[in-house]
């Protein structure tokens, strides 16, 4: 199903809002939406909610023969999928540009930055190594899939535990989780992507664009950094023209954001570890608040009200308010209204103008076509 195209007035409205440094949900230019990270019952399963964008990541492993060019290193495999569940614009089994871009960026962010020690994944050199497979599924698309996917991937990798192995000669014994505790992966650092959307030929930028803002953007700059202020990957796309100091400024903003997000991830991991150790309940089911109205409910949208004062004074207060006229049971009329400008036929008679409405008496005028009009509840009038 093709996505509904964006109307011109919506586009103009969004661009005008960007010019005035206002965003649809009331955020500032450099603000992220609320990030919520929850872990599942299995090790390596993680859901990240960035505002309304939801992304699920699952990490799994298996023993495979290594690549010929690198016999002592484990293999990392990344896969991101967009299903129609995320947005009606995504078609199943279709390789779109967005999919290619997200996959490649995820690979570059996590693989090329060498955040995982692949040498420790080697079991028998040249024969058996661990292949770590990271599957990211987008559950809901409300903008900024890249950041959500990278946060989910690195959280899931930090959360994941692989089975313990013992090597005796040529025999490899893989222990199940009940026999021996699984071992976490050795992660050097946590690279996180930060997306900057550029508008109006690069003059305005926004951090963490939502889906509407993404539609009117000119281009995107994704910077992947870790909390040690090391840039892991930069990618500009969309054909925008950037200046060098814009890139440098974005990298400074990104370093601030990344340290905040890394703290959040570490806190979530810490919480999960504590709950598991104490034997409490953990997993997705526990993280959802119960007895909550989920349907037919709208959250209060934070809207900037600072300008409202100015326009309110322009509303004119009517000096004269005519008293209501009861037309029929349950229907009243206040005022006369303006002349009907719909261009009806001239055959229709105009409604008889009543000039007695100046009195405070409530008058009953019936327009009913029935010959006999029976007014019930006469006593109530």
């Amino acid at each position: 199903m093709r996505d509904t195209p964006l109307s011109n007035c919506e586009r103009r409205f969004l661009l005008k809002a960007v010019e005035e440094k206002k965003r649809l949900d009331g955020r500032q230019t450099y603000d992220y939406r609320n990030i919520k990270i929850t872990f599942g019952t299995d090790y390596g399963c993680c859901i990240v909610e960035l505002g309304r964008t939801r992304v699920l990541c699952q990490v799994s492993c298996e023993l495979v023969p290594p690549k010929d060019s690198r016999p002592t290193e484990g293999i990392m495999f990344f896969n991101l999928e967009l299903s129609p569940m995320a947005s009606p614009a995504f078609e199943p089994n279709r390789q779109s540009e967005l999919l290619v871009m997200l996959n490649r960026q995820l690979e570059r962010c996590l693989r090329n930055s060498k955040c995982i020690d692949t040498e420790s994944l080697c079991v028998v050199s040249g024969e058996k190594v661990w292949q770590i497979r990271v599957d990211v599924h987008v559950l809901n698309h409300d903008g900024n899939l890249m950041d959500a996917a990278s946060i989910a991937a690195i959280s899931a990798l930090s959360h994941f535990r692989r089975p313990d192995v013992a090597i005796q000669g040529r025999d490899i014994t893989v222990f199940s989780p009940e026999e021996r505790d699984p071992i976490p992966l050795s992660i050097y650092h946590m690279p996180i992507c930060v997306s900057f959307a550029f508008f109006l030929q690069g003059s305005y930028l926004l951090v963490d664009p939502c889906e509407r803002e993404e539609r009117v953007k000119d281009g995107l700059l994704v910077i992947a950094m870790n909390k040690h202020r090391e840039i892991c990957s930069i990618q500009s796309s969309g054909g925008i023209m950037l200046l060098k100091d814009q890139v440098l400024r974005c990298s400074k903003i990104a370093s601030v954001k990344v340290s905040e997000i890394t703290e959040l991830i570490n806190k979530a991991l810490e919480n999960d570890r504590k709950i598991r150790k104490e034997g409490g309940k953990f997993g997705f089911a526990e993280s959802m608040p119960k007895e909550r109205i989920t349907a037919l409910k709208r959250d209060e949208a934070p809207v900037e009200m600072t300008d409202v004062q100015e326009t309110a004074s322009e509303i004119n207060i009517l000096r004269y308010v005519s008293s209501p006229v009861l037309v029929a049971m349950g229907t009243a009329q206040v005022g006369e209204g303006i002349v009907n400008s719909w261009g009806l036929d001239e055959d229709e008679e105009d409604e008889p103008q009543t000039e007695d409405t100046k009195t405070d008496e409530v008058m009953v005028i019936s327009d009913s076509e029935e010959e006999e009009v029976v007014i019930l509840n006469e006593e109530a009038q």
């Binding site: 950094m225 840039i231 500009s236 950037l242 200046l243 060098k244 890139v247 440098l248």
Partner: protein, 245 residues
């Protein structure tokens, strides 16, 4: 029709050879211009088809055409013999799709597409020999091919890679340097205005070194733009002499 220019690289002892051949390499009249570029050991062959109006007969192509601009279609592929090991590369795999996408976006920003509404410009690039800097070689060759085809552009689009090895920025990395684990930054620049059309960086780099690295890449790109400009003028002179007869 060829000009061999030796251009010294910044902060490097070796000199990189940039060899460009412009002109008709094909009998096919549909191909408007071709360009073969040899940058150190990366060779690539490139052809730009004439801009053609998206035909009404082809189903679906009409929906791709834009009413006010031209659509740029890029396809990037590597020959199986281009790398050290012969590797058969499937046509639609992720890396070539990504590269095609980047090329398309770079040139959509540089070409004056408003002058060709409802049309499509095809750019096909094939790497014959890869020795690092694939993207930069593609961009440079495509620029020359577009210039040869007579398609108006805002400026030359020049691209170059830069890297950081032991606190020294290096320009124009070769394959061994790129895959050695150090940082590599690919930059596509419009030299006159200093606008960056595309910026791509892999591997870890501390934030403080970013400035120096981008600076090195921009200087290298400006050097490349001088070479490209010289080649274009020389080619025009030779062609005008030939056609005058």
């Amino acid at each position: 029709m060829s000009s061999e220019i030796w251009s010294p690289c910044i902060l490097r002892d070796q000199e990189r050879c940039l060899l460009v051949m412009m002109g008709e390499l094909s009998e096919d009249l549909r191909i408007l211009s071709t360009c073969k570029l040899l940058q150190h050991d990366s060779q690539l062959l490139e052809a730009v088809f004439r801009t053609h109006r998206l035909s009404y007969e082809t189903r679906g192509s009409r929906s791709k055409s834009l009413h006010d601009r031209a659509v740029i279609n890029c396809q990037y592929s590597m020959a199986t013999f281009s790398t050290a090991e012969r590797k058969r590369r499937p046509h639609g795999d992720r890396k070539s799709s990504e590269m095609s996408l980047h090329l398309k976006q770079t040139f959509e920003a540089a070409v004056l597409t408003e002058l060709y509404p409802r049309s499509q410009i095809d750019i096909y690039v094939k790497i014959l020999q890869a020795d690092g800097g694939n993207y930069s070689a593609c961009v440079n060759a495509a620029t020359l091919a577009l210039v040869d085809a007579g398609i108006p552009m805002r400026d030359y689009v020049c691209a170059c890679t830069a890297g950081f090895v032991e606190d020294t920025p290096l320009a124009d990395l070769c394959h061994a340097e790129e895959s050695g684990g150090g940082t590599s930054l690919a930059l596509a620049l419009l030299p006159r205005s200093g606008n960056i059309a595309l910026l791509q960086m892999d591997a870890r780099l501390h934030q403080d070194h970013l400035d120096a690295l981008i600076e090195a890449a921009m200087t290298a790109c400006k050097g490349v733009s001088k070479v490209l400009d010289g080649v274009v003028r020389q080619h025009l002179e030779e062609v005008s002499v030939l056609t005058r007869d």
